[in-house]
Symmetry: C2
Subunit: 196 residues, 2 copies
Amino acid sequence: MKNSIGRPRSFNEQEVLQKAMEYFWEHGYDRSSLSVLLNAMGIKKSSFYQTFQSKEHLFRLCLELYTKMGSEYLATLVDEKGEKGVLLYIVYSTMEELRHTGRAKGCLLMNSGSECYISHPHFNELIHYEFTVFQKLFRKLIDEAQKKGDIKNQTSSRVLGSIYQSLINGLVQMIQVGAQTEELEAVVKHIEDLLE
Amino acid sequence: MKNSIGRPRSFNEQEVLQKAMEYFWEHGYDRSSLSVLLNAMGIKKSSFYQTFQSKEHLFRLCLELYTKMGSEYLATLVDEKGEKGVLLYIVYSTMEELRHTGRAKGCLLMNSGSECYISHPHFNELIHYEFTVFQKLFRKLIDEAQKKGDIKNQTSSRVLGSIYQSLINGLVQMIQVGAQTEELEAVVKHIEDLLE
DNA sequence: TTATTTTAGTACCGATTGGTACAGAAAGGA
DNA sequence: TCCTTTCTGTACCAATCGGTACTAAAATAA
């Protein structure tokens, strides 16, 4: 079925897609020019257009891949860290990233939402859909943690999830605007208290 | 002193700077091309370069103007609404903007922080400085409101201010990613409770 | 071998980017 | 009037943007 006639493709589509996703994640849509994307992906222009059609289509695939990889990764962490542990891990790993690299990439979906919602509104629907995937995941994690008693706060998972998402994305913004460690730690502590 | 020889300038520098600032606020730095800026400002290219030197210099002036106008405006609101009232007003006006226009511009400094901190790091220092102006303002508002008893929460203004800023900017991000009204209202309610 | 497909590489395309240069008209003070 | 400055307007610049077209080599199945 897959073995078609002719020279076989020498690159793995998923692998180069992931490279593109990582580049978009770090630099955003508009600042990822085709030439730098091709460098990051390690393929040539003709191969790119044959496989991915356009930059816009590539970005859509990357948004989907981000959600897929991200949610699957978090799901695997539940066994190791527990539901509440995963929610806190997201916060801690953001702070860890800041400590090691001096910055924080944040969430590709939130970043893209900010970047595109006026200048590329045709992405809005997809971005929002992918966002709801994480939203549902967080709610599930909160529900489970509440059942287990790991989270005593009995606020509904919908409300708690929204506050959690606002806080964690606000935290990333504070990092990007250069807030000091003490101020960031205050936000981290508030998230911890929220999930107490 | 100001009346120099020759034809006088036919536009008010502050006025056209404000027009530029509003355009940057709505569209960001990179997506504000010189040609659209000139349209928004209502001046010609030669006048622009003579007065503002470069797009980068213009942006710096706009960041400073945003802080100046914003903090002065908030200061005038204190008499009318009180310190706590001003903090809540910022939240409510964001939701009001969403209701009327279907979107939220957010804060120019936070937006610029996200946009520029990797691709235009030479703005980072200025952005952070302007950010601290608002930070200090919010702390002062919180301190006063706590003294008056309008805010019972006795958490330090530094901590409370950081959480407040994270939440309000997270709220804007949630809007930009297309979150639903109920989820946004949950965040608004959380901010109200925080300042209770 | 032959047919088929992907590869790398190059040359374009029109549009746009920030920025410079220069023209000539207009408006004021000395 | 004369000098100075700003005005509008046009023409340019090199660089980059996303995208298309094409060649020729390479790799595979039939």
